[in-house]
Amino acid sequence: MTAVAAQKLVVTRGGATLLKGLSLSLGATGSVALIGPNGAGKTTLLKVLAGLEAPQSGAVQVGGQALASLSNAARARTIGFLPQHFEPHWDLAVRDLVRLGAERGGRPSGDHTSGDAVEQALVRYELRALERRRWSTLSGGESARVLLAMVLVADPPVLLADEPAAALDIRHRLEVVQALAARGRDRLSVVVVHDLDLAFRFFDRVVVLVDGQVAADGPAAELLDDRRLDAAFGVRFERIRTAGGSILQASTTTA
């Protein structure tokens, strides 16, 4: 059980303040969608929560411990980070990529548990048939599954994902976003989601980031009707009820 909490995070880079005293408390389980307009600081927040970037001030607690006090290996095993863009420098085979994910934090390569985990991940993400294929030969959907397998093969209690499905077609995007949200049942899954309809449909909780601060935060069902959502994106949303949930249709406020 690993809860994550951020207190008064401030991140400045090149004169711009990307996070302005942001605080956020995340439970040990649950699926959280992080939404907000471009430049709101979503990626920066995720990287700070993952320990990949250090804030100028403020602190992150993971499972009751200061993130900065965790060893690199412990951090890597606790927090899975799924980047927005991933492009390995060398054209590795699918199986080797997943194995590198399983061996994170310096687990010995002969370790049986990581070997079994690789097999399970290959089966789970339907990569058995592709295991010898090289990265450069994969389609967009296939490489997204490989990335998922790489990060989730070690089954981290916390997952931080950065719009991993943004460039995929709708079926693959649904599959990826659903898989990420489903982890929230017994773990913590925080996902930056571009598609607002997917965010409100599949996630328990939605956090709206604007200008380096939390503009709104609450259960997806409640936040959907919140007018702060319109203000955050600078548009007027029409909420259209459907059998499966709601659709947000945006129009510009000036129209």
Partner: protein
């Protein structure tokens, strides 16, 4: 298994061919008589002069291949090469100082130490310049490397002009700068072989982390790698390898660039296999290049660095054009 057998067979063949080649060509049968223990004059010449030279060339080649593979892994850049990144130039400057400047320590000790210091310093300098300029990509590194290599080359030339006199021959420094394996005594060859094996072992310690680094800096950090520290350690290790290669073989261009590429075609990009395969390919290439250097224009000898540059230059241009098109 197949590529390893092929590499092993190719290395044995290269050694046999190189041992037969030279000012006076000998038959493989004559080689066999040497190995069998025959010590008449011809066999003695082969045993004392040609065989150590051939094996030393193989070791230098292995070190160059290894150094290239480490640097390409650290810089995550298939165009990285000790010669182009300035580390070989730094080693050469250090070695020139050792050869020309009268210092308190004996030259045999000073040369490897200064070669290492030069290689390490130059690599850190290139890395630092590229970082400050915000250009840690292929082009940025290569440009920084070219600039540093040019400066180091000028310094080296200046030292050669200013410091050489009747007591220290320019010829020694020049032949060494142009690249060339000196014929070692058997004990020195043994030392070189030990260094080569040690460097291979050292490189293999980095293999897993080089693979993780190859996933990109963000992913490597997310997977628990302390990227900054590892890059520093790996550059240090790469500099040790390059310094050893330069100390025994002078400036030999392009082997460090080509060997890892050929090895990648044969065994794939995972460093556990790539590092030893690069060493084998480098050994094969330099053994053959040294044979050409000795045998092509008898009785003169072509500097080894010129042979590899003539062969390797076009290879680099090919790589560069393929990369620019991609």
């Amino acid at each position: 298994m197949k590529p390893w057998l092929a590499l092993g067979a190719a290395l044995v063949l290269a050694i046999v061919v190189a041992a037969c080649a030279g000012h006076d060509w000998v038959s493989p049968a004559a080689l066999w008589r040497v190995i069998d223990g025959d010590r008449d004059l011809g066999s003695r010449l082969l045993f004392d002069w040609r065989l150590p030279r051939v094996l030393a060339a193989g070791c230098v080649g292995a070190l160059l291949g290894l150094g290239g593979a480490i640097f390409q892994g650290v810089f995550r850049n298939p165009l990285a090469e000790p010669y182009l990144l300035g580390s070989a130039g730094g080693a050469a400057l250090g070695a020139t100082v050792a050869l020309l400047v009268p210092l308190a320590l004996p030259q045999s000790l000073l040369l490897p130490i200064l070669a290492f210091a030069g290689a390490w310093g130059a690599t850190l300098l290139v890395l630092g310049i590229a970082r400050v300029a915000g250009a840690v990509d292929a082009a940025g590194l290569l440009l920084a490397g070219v600039a540093v290599a040019a400066i180091l080359g000028a310094l080296r030339s200046f030292l050669m002009l200013a410091l050489s006199d009747e007591t220290v021959s320019l010829q020694i420094v020049l032949s060494w700068v142009l690249g060339g394996v000196q014929t070692p005594t058997w004990p020195v060859l043994g030392l070189l072989a030990l260094i080569t094996l040690g460097c291979t072992g050292l490189a293999l310690l980095l293999a897993g982390r080089l693979d993780v680094l190859g996933l990109g800096e963000t992913m490597a950090r997310a997977f628990g790698l302390d990227v900054t520290r590892f890059v520093a350690v790996a550059v240090l290790a790469g500099s040790v390898v390059v310094a050893a290669a330069v100390a025994f073989g002078g400036l030999v261009a392009f082997v460090g660039l080509a060997a890892p590429h050929i090895a990648r075609w044969l065994v794939g990009p995972l460093h556990r296999a790539l590092l030893p395969a690069s060493a084998l390919v480098g050994a094969i290439v330099v053994t053959l290049a040294d044979a050409i250097a000795r045998a092509a224009l008898p009785p003169a000898e072509i500097p080894l660095g010129l042979v590899t540059a003539v062969a390797g230059g076009p290879f680099f241009i090919l790589l560069l054009s393929r990369r620019l098109r991609a």
